[in-house]
């Protein structure tokens, strides 16, 4: 057993790819998820993103739509 076998390697997307995706899709076709702290979010975030700080994530998953592509930052 090793770490890598246990974890599904996540897909990465570059900011440019995300920008292109956003330009080609409607706002309600994807989710932007900001997992930083509230203060960081207040300092600046991507328009339309939803704030769920990483420590709250396990308790708030039902707020997310499982059917939509989700970009996490």
């Amino acid at each position: 057993m090793n770490w890598k076998s246990l974890f599904t390697p996540g897909a990465n997307m570059s900011p440019d790819e995300v920008k292109i995706f956003m330009a080609e899709h409607q706002l309600d076709e994807y989710q932007l998820l900001d997992v930083r702290q509230l203060k960081e979010y207040e300092r600046g975030h991507l328009p339309g993103s939803m704030l769920v700080p990483v420590k709250e994530l396990t308790g708030r998953m039902e707020e997310l739509d499982r059917t939509k592509p989700t970009f996490v930052y």
């Binding site: 057993m1 090793n2 770490w3 890598k4 246990l6 974890f7 599904t8 996540g10 897909a11 990465n12 997307m13 570059s14 900011p15 995300v18 920008k19 998820l33 900001d34 997992v35 930083r36 702290q37 509230l38 203060k39 960081e40 300092r43 600046g44 975030h45 991507l46 700080p53 990483v54 420590k55 994530l57 396990t58 998953m61 997310l64 499982r66 059917t67 939509k68 592509p69 989700t70 970009f71 996490v72 930052y73």
Partner: protein, 193 residues
């Protein structure tokens, strides 16, 4: 770096269309983000382990060693104190794992020596992380990512546990990691304005 761990966590929960935006908002806005996407627990817990206990134990040991090594590296007293505290948390977790698994005492010696001589190369780890650690903010962000990965590991283990007792135990460990994550978030909040 937190987003990568968060993405892993969501995937474990069955989300299938999760993308980690490399470099985060800094890169999005055209800046150069610190840290690469390949860092994290998998970087320094890369051996093959016989069972979940050994892997969890090696992870706790690896985290402890990393925090202690970073504590030596930094000059700021507050950062030193924080890292030493984090290392103590991991020592506590090792004790819990030993108590839970009856073969713990024997494995203790094996893992301790193996993780130091084999899977864990202190100098290599320090060289890898050194460039990303410029201040307390960086340290807390790195720790938040690692603790999120630990939370993720224990959540996964609790879901795949074969007996009720193990399930409860790993749930408890996941809760522990969540507390540490909360502690780090609070520390981080005091730094950012």
């Amino acid at each position: 770096m937190r987003s990568k761990a968060a993405a892993q966590l969501l995937q474990a929960e069955g989300f299938t269309q999760i993308y980690n935006m490399s470099g985060g908002i800094i890169a999005y806005e055209g800046g150069k983000a610190a840290g690469d996407e390949n860092q994290g627990m998998e970087y320094f817990v890369r051996k093959n382990f016989a069972d979940v206990f050994q892997m969890s134990y090696a992870m706790e040991e690896g985290l402890k060693q990393l925090y202690l090594a970073l504590a030596e590296l930094v000059e700021d007293d507050k950062a030193k104190a924080l890292l030493t505290r984090l290392a103590r948390f991991e020592e506590g977790h090792k004790a819990m794992l030993r108590a839970r698994f009856s073969n713990g005492a024997a494995v203790d010696e094996v893992i301790d020596s193996e993780s130091l001589e084999g899977g864990f190369d202190k100098q290599q780890i320090l060289d890898h992380f050194r460039g990303q650690i410029r201040g307390l903010e960086d340290i807390i962000q790195l720790a938040m990512m690692l603790e999120t990965q630990a939370l993720d590991l224990y959540s996964r283990l609790s879901r795949t546990a074969e007996d009720e007792e193990s399930k409860v135990f790993f749930q408890y460990m996941a809760k522990e990691e969540k507390l540490h994550l909360g502690f780090l978030s609070d520390e981080y909040d005091t730094l950012i304005v």
